[in-house]
């Protein structure tokens, strides 16, 4: 499908520190904030080819390429970012940063508070999606980006892309919103709540003060991740992936060890997650996601989008029950009502919410077409009598 599949090669995460304090939505002023980011491709002379891609809940700034020759895995959206790919780095200057409150380079609860020389822990202020977007905008200002050709994100990344369009309507020429929503359903909030509860009820969480302790709240964080992974799949995906198959055994063991493949998968996902993610970051970021509700904040979604001149592409996946298609349609309908330029595609997939990271072939095709607005007529004029 995709020609010239190539990688952006070896890349490096860079850091920018916003020295001045930023006012958060809660009223708290906070700073300094260091932002971890990566860029691919080059900003053109007209400075009009910048695309901001935004990661999902537990992602990072490393969206494409490899950090070293020995790196086993490329960045999280390498399938879509690179020379000749959907976000073609021969044409576009692609930027990705780690979210505020994260634990992959951007200042978050695990960062050292310069005033106490200890990690912030739960003294880190609660922030919102509006705040995370404000931080991204500061980074773009530092990179001398005058406007964005596009802002793109899936899941929580899509929520931030929505907020970006709302906060900076004149700055964004187009937005690509994938498997996302303008507000979580109570069901999705409930899963986040159980995840947070699992962390908080781990005795090793110690009110968020565990960074210098030997025992970290790994149990709680890994359980939270296991719950998350259930929501990223769907019934069909689970049947396809595991069925009722047993893990390395032919019969039940009649004890409480792992019997089923699905149990083993979840446990594995939980275990590898604690090595790369911070429990407090999980609490803060899921809270920001739960709070996100521009419909409520601006009276209606229509009102929230009214100043935007961006062109929109919205995509959802039919088996995604965490961010279901009806929530994407809500976004599309409010944009249609405003007469905005919007396209919407519901992609058939058996992969559930995870589809946005897996079904890259169709997404590539769609995104590529959407970003390329100079398409010549392909109908046969002769045939038009």
């Amino acid at each position: 499908m995709i020609n010239n599949i190539q990688s952006v090669g070896i890349v490096q995460t860079k850091f920018y520190t916003i020295e001045e304090k930023i006012q958060f939505e809660s009223g708290v002023e906070f700073g300094p904030i260091t932002v971890a980011y990566e860029t691919y491709g080059t900003l053109n002379e007209n400075e009009d080819n910048a695309i901001l891609v935004i990661h999902a809940l537990t992602g990072d700034a490393h969206a494409a390429g490899y950090h070293s020759e020995n790196d086993k895995k490329p960045g999280w959206w390498d399938d879509l970012i690179g020379p000749g790919k959907a976000f073609d780095t021969n044409k576009y200057f692609v930027i990705c940063s780690n979210i505020l409150g994260g634990c992959s380079g951007t200042t978050g609860p695990s960062a050292i508070n310069p005033q106490t020389n200890r990690p912030y822990g739960t003294s880190f202020p609660v922030f919102t999606i509006e705040d995370t977007v404000k931080v991204m905008k500061k980074l773009l200002d530092f990179l001398k980006i005058k406007s964005l050709y596009s802002v793109a994100g899936g899941s929580m990344g899509g929520m931030q892309a929505i907020q970006f369009v709302i906060s900076y309507p004149d700055f964004v020429k187009s937005a690509i919103l994938i498997a996302t929503t303008a507000r979580l359903s109570p069901q999705a909030i409930a899963f986040n709540a159980v995840g947070r509860n699992s962390i908080i009820s781990d005795p090793n969480w110690n009110n968020g003060d565990y960074y210098d302790k030997e025992q970290k709240p790994d149990r709680g964080l890994s359980n939270a991740r296991m719950i998350g992974h259930i929501t990223y799949l769907c019934e069909e995906a689970m049947y396809n992936k595991f069925g009722r198959r047993l893990q390395n055994k032919n019969h039940y063991d009649f004890n409480f060890d792992i019997d089923f493949q699905v149990e083993s998968y979840l446990q594995h996902q939980g275990q590898i997650f604690v090595d790369r993610f911070d429990a407090n970051s999980y609490l803060y970021i899921t809270k920001a996601v739960d709070y996100f509700d521009p419909c409520d904040k601006y009276g209606s979604l229509t009102n929230a989008f009214k100043n935007s001149n961006a062109k929109f592409l919205v995509m959802s996946f039919d088996s995604d029950w965490l961010f279901p298609s009806c929530q994407s349609k809500e976004i599309v309908n409010s944009l249609m009502k405003l007469g905005k330029d919007v396209s919407y595609c519901e992609i058939k997939s058996p992969c559930g919410h995870d589809a946005f990271l897996l079904e890259y072939e169709l997404q590539s095709k769609i995104i590529k077409s959407f970003l390329n607005d100079h398409i010549k007529g392909d109908y046969n004029e002769q045939a038009l009598c």
């Binding site: 396209s343 919407y344 607005d373 007529g377 109908y379 038009l384």
Partner: protein, 208 residues
């Protein structure tokens, strides 16, 4: 499906007639826009500001590849997201007979569009009548090529039926165009002749 068939046979008469009906720079909504052929034509020839609605994922992607704005959706569910009279033209080309609720779809498009362009195959076309009369089987034709068990055309109608419907629903017919393979005839009022000889028809309708 019908539209695809028409394209594969090179039957572009409808497209050029519809294109002639539309003013430059108009705001156009194409319901059941298929692969976007007509929208693309209108965009290039008439510089319209257009949107399409299409139910099939494959065709939505083909529209996007043409650089069109398209929404994947089911027109049978109505056009709730569109404000009253928000389009200069709403087009329903060769699709009316495949909708589940043609009366609701027509009502919705007349609400949203200042003018509506509706085209459909005339089931009272003489060849169809004769085929049915002499063979006793569900008639097939150039524009209705399907078998009874796989046809998407579940609400076939005639010119007479359409006139009757517009009368009952206070819909104004602004123009009627009756076509056969190569001939085109215009008339606003109903007559037996049109109902007998027209293979496909295109109407411009409106409702205030």
């Amino acid at each position: 499906m019908n539209r695809h068939y028409a394209e594969s046979k090179g039957l572009h008469l409808n497209y050029s007639i519809i294109s002639d009906m539309i003013d430059d720079y108009a705001r156009v909504l194409d319901l059941g826009c298929g692969n976007g052929y007509l929208l693309k034509l209108l965009k290039d020839k008439k510089h319209i500001n257009g949107n399409g609605i299409e139910i099939s994922q494959k065709e939505v992607i083909q529209c996007l590849e043409k650089g069109l704005s398209v929404i994947q959706g089911d027109i049978d569910e109505g056009l709730k997201q569109f404000a009253d009279k928000s389009y200069d033209y709403v087009i329903l080309n060769q699709t009316l007979q495949s909708t589940h609720n043609p009366d609701y779809v027509l009502e919705e498009m007349l609400r949203v569009g200042k003018k509506c362009i509706v085209s459909f195959p005339n089931f009272a076309y003489w060849r169809i009548r004769f085929k049915f009369f002499f063979t006793g089987a569900m008639p097939k034709s150039r524009v209705l090529p399907f078998e009874w068990f796989n046809t998407p055309n579940i609400h076939l109608l005639t010119v007479k039926d359409f006139f009757e419907f517009t009368k009952q629903h206070n819909i104004t017919i602004l123009e009627g165009i009756y076509t056969t393979k190569a001939k085109v005839r215009k008339a606003i009022h109903y007559n037996l002749f049109s109902n007998f000889f027209a293979e496909e028809v295109i109407f411009i309708i409106a409702k205030n």
